[in-house]
């Protein structure tokens, strides 16, 4: 029994009971864990008739066979559910320490079903599962709650929602280990709809490894390679992810003021260089990670983890704000309230544009740093203008008659990279299974940084091949579960070898990427079953029709049609974007239809 614990914990909140049963190992071999296993289980459990905020939706927490083994970055875990924001299959992924503890508690999967009549929190100590009344805790913010429930990074880990999740904000996050987040797509609202306030874990198992010699070898080689890569050994630890601000702005791909421009004149003021110089206390890391990209930042008002590039962008360039301390404070506030920073910032930006254009009656305006904190609070509590914003930019923009001003794909707010400056990224956003997301296959590597080699970011022909490969590869990594920053120094072939060493099952590099392809196709089937079609593989009209008038990306709009056609063919899907029977048979998914 190596790699997997081979056990599922299935919790019913209706009756406050639980049962454990074996994990189907054939399924595990095909989908591995994390995102893959979550998607496969969700396929069986939640169909199109289920409202995401109803008791019939489930939360499926998964770790992977590598989790907790001590391999570099083997701390991550997933939650899978149907998204209340987009209605698609949703997998959200987080780091920190909770995932490691979850593995030590002896389970591969934890399913949360139903709804508790009253607020409840769950305590798990391997076989001992206790349901506690959470009436006193309901209403508490994340930081205070995490401390109160006894957070100790290595021994006892708290996962919880804040007021945003309690109030069913569709952009609410689930937080773990104080400031790590299962952020996108509103999993916090699902947890809130179940009256589940927190899950606290203590574990004592030691994950088993089949081939210890080979594992040691991979551990050593990975350490060597991460140290040799200047990205993972110098850039990320020193500057964190915010270092991207200047580079993305420089090439004219930094979405600004709700994607009205592709460069922000205040980029320097909110850059990684500025953060490091003025507000950085030190760096930090998740469990078993030698990279250390986490920031600990301090302003006059707060000290906490982050901000990340995307968060800084969302409250910065996207809102036209160049006041870094206020942005740092906004990030910390979102963490404490349990909100996804990307969706929160981009929704505020949408509201700013709607208000400036007179479609919406509010005083929100681009550049108003002073408005951030109050509106974020209002969103978490659904008060005043916050009630309009709490469910994301698409619902907001639709309400005020201009859905095209929501910078989202399938309802999920897009991140910082403006695809008019990166054609491949546009295809990525349009085809991502959970909506506008860069973590499903970031083209930043090939199109901007030259990883592994630079390709022309404006080239369209052949771009889909890269997007497909990156989507498949990322889906595989999300199923192991590892951090994608390891991939910056260590190639996929190492992960396949580690997986083989831990589980004793021989996965070639191609086998592992195929797992990713399988997961991708399954997620696609899920969305098709929900009623999504080819016409949902699209982007806001602004990105397809309005070219930037200055900057390096001047004159470019996203050439989606030709890329999408090539993409469908490359994936062996029909011209409507439906996986062909031949492809499904090849991936072992034919029996699902």
């Amino acid at each position: 029994m190596a790699g997997w614990s081979e056990k599922i914990l299935d919790i019913d909140l209706n009756t406050q009971t639980y049962k454990t049963y074996p994990l189907d190992m054939e399924m595990a071999h095909l989908f591995i864990g994390g995102r893959g296993l979550g998607a496969r289980l969700l396929w069986d459990m939640v169909g199109p008739e289920v409202d995401p905020l109803s008791p019939e939706n489930v939360l499926i927490f998964t770790n992977g066979p590598l989790t907790g083994t001590g391999y570099q970055t083997s701390n991550r875990f997933s939650v899978t559910t149907k998204s209340p924001l987009t209605g698609t299959v949703l997998d959200a992924n987080s780091g920190g320490f909770w995932g490691m503890q979850f593995k030590k508690a002896g389970y591969d999967v934890m399913i949360i079903r139903g709804k508790s009549e009253k607020p409840i929190w769950i305590e798990i100590k391997n076989d001992a599962i206790t349901f506690h009344d959470a009436s006193e805790l309901w209403g508490m913010r994340v930081f205070a709650l995490t401390q109160k429930l006894g957070q100790n990074n290595n021994k006892r880990n708290v996962l919880c929602i804040g007021p945003a999740g309690e109030n069913l904000s569709r952009i609410a996050a689930i937080m773990n280990d104080r400031e790590r987040a299962l952020a996108r797509g509103g999993p916090g609202a699902v947890m809130g709809s179940k009256n589940l306030k927190a899950i606290v874990i203590e574990g004592k198992d030691r994950p088993e490894i089949e081939d210890r010699e080979r594992f040691k070898f991979m551990l050593y080689e990975t350490r060597k390679l991460l140290a040799a890569s200047p990205l993972t050994s110098q850039a990320l630890p020193e500057f964190g992810t915010v270092v991207m601000m200047n580079i993305v702005n420089n090439i004219g791909a930094l979405a600004t003021r709700n994607h009205q421009q592709t460069q922000f004149e205040g980029a320097e003021a909110i850059s990684g260089e500025e953060l490091t110089e003025k507000y950085l206390v030190k760096n930090s890391s998740c469990w078993a990670c030698p990279i250390g990209c986490t920031r600990i930042s301090r302003t006059e008002k707060v000290e906490g983890e982050g901000p990340e590039f995307e968060s800084t962008w969302a409250f910065g360039a996207q809102c036209g704000i160049d006041n870094l301390p206020t942005i740092i404070e906004a990030n910390t506030l979102c963490n404490d309230l349990g909100l996804d920073t990307i969706s929160t910032g981009s929704t505020i930006a949408c509201a700013m544009e709607l208000s400036e254009k007179g479609y919406m009656d509010s005083d929100l305006r681009f550049g108003r740093a002073d408005q951030l904190a109050p509106v974020i609070e209002a969103m978490a509590y659904r008060q005043d203008v916050g009630s309009d914003l709490a469910d994301g930019s698409l619902r907001l923009a639709t309400k005020y008659g201009h859905p095209e001003l929501s910078m989202s794909a399938k309802g999920l707010e897009m991140p910082a990279y403006d695809p008019r400056g990166m054609q491949g990224q546009g295809l990525l956003y349009a085809t991502s299974n959970r909506g506008g997301c860069h973590m499903r296959g970031n083209m930043l590597g090939p199109e901007v940084l030259g990883l592994p080699k630079l390709i022309d970011r404006f080239q369209v022909q052949g771009k889909s091949s890269f997007v497909i490969l990156h989507q498949n590869s990322n889906a595989a990594i999300d199923s192991l579960v590892l951090c994608k920053f390891t991939n910056l120094g260590v190639a996929d072939e190492y992960f396949a070898r580690v997986l083989s060493a831990v589980t004793g099952i021989q996965y070639s590099t191609g086998d592992m990427i195929k797992v990713g392809e399988r997961v991708w196709n399954l997620e696609r089937l899920y969305n098709l079953r929900e009623g999504f079609t080819r016409k949902d593989d699209t982007l806001p009209p602004r990105l397809l029709n309005e070219a930037p008038t200055d900057g390096p990306s001047q004159g470019w709009v996203v050439q989606l049609e030709p890329m999408l056609k090539e993409y469908y063919r490359g994936r062996v899907w029909d011209e409507n974007g439906v996986p062909t029977p031949k492809k499904l048979a090849e991936l072992g998914l034919a029996n699902l239809m």
């Binding site: 090939p446 592994p452 390709i455 889909s464 590869s473 063919r569 490359g570």
Partner: protein, 203 residues
């Protein structure tokens, strides 16, 4: 219509391969995958001197280029694209690597660069080492787990996301073999400078 940038990439890598003595005048091949199509050098064209109509575009599933026998190795390339995540393939005849392939089943480097990047290069054998389905399958199967492999006596097959990535592995392999050859000639006791190198052949 093949994008000009893709054509230029073929020319650059082709010329680099030829001038580095890794291919004869008309041998070897380069290809890239564009969605469900493959762009590959026409049979009889010179890698070191490619002209625009030396590149053929065909469907991945079968050869519909309208050019009979677009390349002897087209089958191998298509098979590799179907069986692996490769987006680009470099196939050439690196001399020292071929010499090494004649007497071993795997090439394990002694130099630092290849120790970091490659660790082990498997050698596969096939009776008809050109153009057959058996050879295509064997090569593609090996490439499911390694970025670059040798076909004994014939040459190297390397995959990557771009042609220059596949070229990088090819060039690193040839460099590794040349260094190993010099070490053999020097014939002095090897001072092991790497930790855990005894595991490379198990990579």
């Amino acid at each position: 219509m093949i994008d000009q940038r893709i054509y230029e990439m073929f020319c650059d890598i082709g010329r680099d391969l030829y001038t580095a003595n890794m291919i004869s005048s008309h041998g070897g091949n380069l290809s890239v995958r564009l969605g469900d199509r493959v762009v590959i050098k026409r049979r009889g064209a010179m890698l070191g001197n490619l002209k625009p109509n030396d590149l053929i575009e065909t469907r991945l599933e079968k050869n519909d280029s309208g050019v009979a026998l677009a390349s002897t190795e087209l089958l191998a390339h298509r098979t590799i694209y179907k069986m692996t995540p490769a987006l680009a393939i470099v196939h050439c005849h690196p001399r020292m690597a071929i010499a090494f392939s004649l007497s071993r089943d795997e090439i394990v480097p002694v130099d630092n660069e290849a120790s970091y990047l490659l660790k082990k290069i498997p050698v596969v054998t096939e009776e008809f080492a050109s153009g057959t389905p058996e050879m295509a399958n064997k090569v593609a199967t090996a490439l499911q787990n390694y970025k670059i492999i040798m076909l004994r006596g014939h040459g190297s097959f390397a995959t990557g996301q771009t042609l220059d990535e596949a070229f990088f592995w090819t060039s690193t392999l040839e460099e590794a073999c040349q260094i190993a050859f010099y070490a053999k000639l020097l014939n002095e006791p090897f001072i092991e400078y790497r930790k855990m190198s005894e595991s490379y052949n198990k990579f």
